[in-house]
């Protein structure tokens, strides 16, 4: 599966990263090399093997259904590049 410039542009859109045209070319080459390298996994017969998502607890613990935190909107938005009245502010999305 060769990675071309069009594929890079598509995944960059999915990842919300703007790329300059020359970046697309360089990344296409790099990603193609890396993905070609990882394709060696195809050599291994994994029929019947359960995929492993993580180690340790198979079932995650449940916490008591209780409010344990919160009530300080000014602290939550303190690091926001733009905030108003305890809310995060973003460019207008509805006309």
């Amino acid at each position: 599966m060769a990675i071309d410039r069009k594929t890079v542009a598509h995944i960059a859109t999915l990842a919300r990263i703007r790329l300059a045209p020359e970046e697309q070319d360089a990344l296409a080459r790099e990603l193609d090399t890396i993905l070609h390298w990882v394709e060696q996994l195809g050599e291994v017969d994994t029929a019947g093997i359960q995929p492993m998502a993580g180690v340790g607890n198979v079932t995650l613990r449940q916490r008591p259904d209780a409010v344990t935190d919160g009530g300080y909107p000014e602290k939550v938005v303190r690091n926001a590049p733009a905030a108003a009245a305890g809310f995060f502010a973003v460019p207008k999305v509805v006309e």
């Binding site: 703007r18 060696q40 093997i49 993580g54 180690v55 607890n57 303190r78």
Partner: protein
């Protein structure tokens, strides 16, 4: 009086207890040393005011306890904190432009535990951007310089990564110990490059809460220090169950410091044949053989073992880690914290912010992760990698039916020059060939300095143990440490 910055944590604790010096004196000695060694770029943020305040409070607690031993396990010890741990009100960058000016409104569990144990924060140490790298060259805040140099050659060398600032700081005696995180070798490889001890505990041993996430199923915090005993002391202070991290293990914490003294008599140590690669430098092969001989002399039994899927660990990692990273890093969008680049629309703002805020290696990995998780490729890449991960973990499970610990080299090479490997990402990824399998299986791994290369650079050996058996790993490590008698100092400090 001995220069305070040269002490181990254990020796400093004895000196503080005996009243030979105060934490304020110990901390001031380190703050002066930090100023003198700023050229290393080991710290992104120095926190001298915070350090002096914490040190004074520590001295007060010690006075109040009246020498009755009722103080924390790290009482008065100045440490560096990798700038991936959120510290309340103190700039936390993850080495990235995209976290510009981010001062977390909360404190990570690991650092909370350290302050409760009495430790003192000297500053936030440099790292590869979002912990993605093996050289510290990807930090937005510039590269860290390894305090070690080749004999008669002043070429600056990398400290390894991603915990390169932490490792360089501990090696250069500008922190007594430091926190690190290890997703594929990010504690152990820089420890090896800088001639110090680094431990990645079992996945679940230290809480991940408040640590900037890279690959959540692999990330684990651990200590960097100048002796195995110091690593044991600090691990005990960092670890423990935390309800705020659902993958934090609710199992008892042994006293690592007392558990390590037992020696290795009667232990079975596995030597995996797959770690003997064709390209391995002869001096690393020799050091590994030396490690086997030392453990045999100390009464351990050496057992040849096989971990047949070892060669697939790196490609497996470079699917799983980017996949998890692409998901974790979705939160950096210019809305809630850090950098924002204004755009014509919300989407425009997202794309411009992430383009300006992420460096090249982070973009590369986010794009790989996005690709392997995208429709049509998920099964071929991500699911396949998860199945390989299961086989790699099974190799270890089967090996640990026959042995108590496994001995390998930590890295396939010593520290390299800053310009040596940047043009080929896969060449850089190969740095982690011996450490990545341990993360995939979630096991504890320790690197300790065991010898010098012909060029005079430190080389590490790695000890791998069963899940939640850090005590045995530390015991084996201490036996090697005793036998190796590694006392070399980086140039300029000798």
């Amino acid at each position: 009086m001995t220069e305070l910055t040269t002490l181990t944590v254990a020796a400093a604790l004895r000196g503080l207890e005996a009243g030979d010096f105060t934490s304020v004196e110990l901390t001031d000695a380190h703050l002066r040393a930090i100023e003198a060694r700023r050229a290393l770029n080991a710290y992104i943020t120095e926190t001298p005011e915070c350090a002096r305040e914490q040190a004074a409070k520590s001295d007060a607690r010690r006075r109040k306890s009246g020498g009755k031993g009722k103080v924390g396990a790290m009482e008065g010890i100045p440490v560096a904190i990798k700038d991936l741990f959120c510290t309340e009100g103190t700039l936390t960058t993850a080495g990235s432009h995209i976290l510009d000016k981010f001062a977390p409104p909360y404190e990570s569990t690991v650092t909370t535990n350290l302050w409760r144990a009495g430790a003192v924060m000297l500053g936030k140490s440099n790292l590869d951007e979002f912990a993605m790298g093996s050289s510290n060259l990807t930090s937005y805040y510039g590269p860290v310089v390894n305090p070690w140099q080749r004999k008669g050659d002043p070429t600056p060398l990398v400290p390894g990564g991603s915990s390169g600032g932490s490792a360089a700081a501990v090696a250069a005696r500008i922190a007594m110990a430091a926190t690190g995180t290890d997703t594929g070798g990010s504690i152990r490889q820089p420890a090896s490059f800088c001639g110090i001890v680094g431990m990645k505990p079992t996945y679940g041993r230290c809480s991940r809460w408040g640590i900037v996430a890279f690959a959540s199923s692999l990330d684990q915090a651990g200590p960097l220090a100048r002796s195995v005993e110091d690593a044991a002391i600090m691990l005990g202070a960092m670890a423990g169950h935390d309800p705020k991290d659902s993958t934090s293990a609710n199992i008892p914490l042994p006293d690592f410091r007392t558990a390590i003294a037992g020696g290795v008599r009667g232990l079975k140590i596995g030597i995996p044949k797959e770690y003997r690669s064709d390209g391995m430098p002869a001096e690393i092969e020799t050091l590994w053989q030396q490690g086997r001989d030392w453990l045999k002399d100390e009464g351990a039994e050496i057992v040849d073992i096989s971990l047949p899927h070892t060669k697939y660990a790196l490609p497996t990692y470079y699917i799983i880690a980017p996949a998890e990273a692409s998901s974790n890093l979705a939160r950096y969008d210019g809305v809630r914290f850090g950098l924002r680049v204004e755009g014509k629309s919300l989407n425009d703002m997202y794309e411009l912010t992430r383009a300006a805020g992420f460096g090249a290696e982070v973009k590369r990995r986010v794009l790989i992760g996005t690709y392997v998780l995208s429709a049509g490729y998920y099964d071929a890449y991500y699911l396949k990698a998860q199945k390989l991960r299961a086989l790699i973990a099974r190799d270890f499970t089967e090996a640990f039916e026959r042995v108590d610990a496994i001995l390998t080299p930590t890295a396939p090479n010593a520290a390299f020059a800053a310009d040596a490997k940047m043009d080929d990402p896969i060449q850089m990824y190969l740095n982690d060939v011996f450490t990545v399998p341990v993360n995939l299986a979630g096991l504890p791994g320790l690197s300790l300095p065991a010898g010098l290369s012909a060029e005079g650079l430190p080389l590490g050996l790695q000890v791998i143990g069963r899940a939640f058996d850090e005590a045995t790993v530390l015991r084996v490590g201490q036996s090697i440490e005793r036998a190796a008698g590694f006392t070399a100092l980086p140039g300029g400090l000798a």
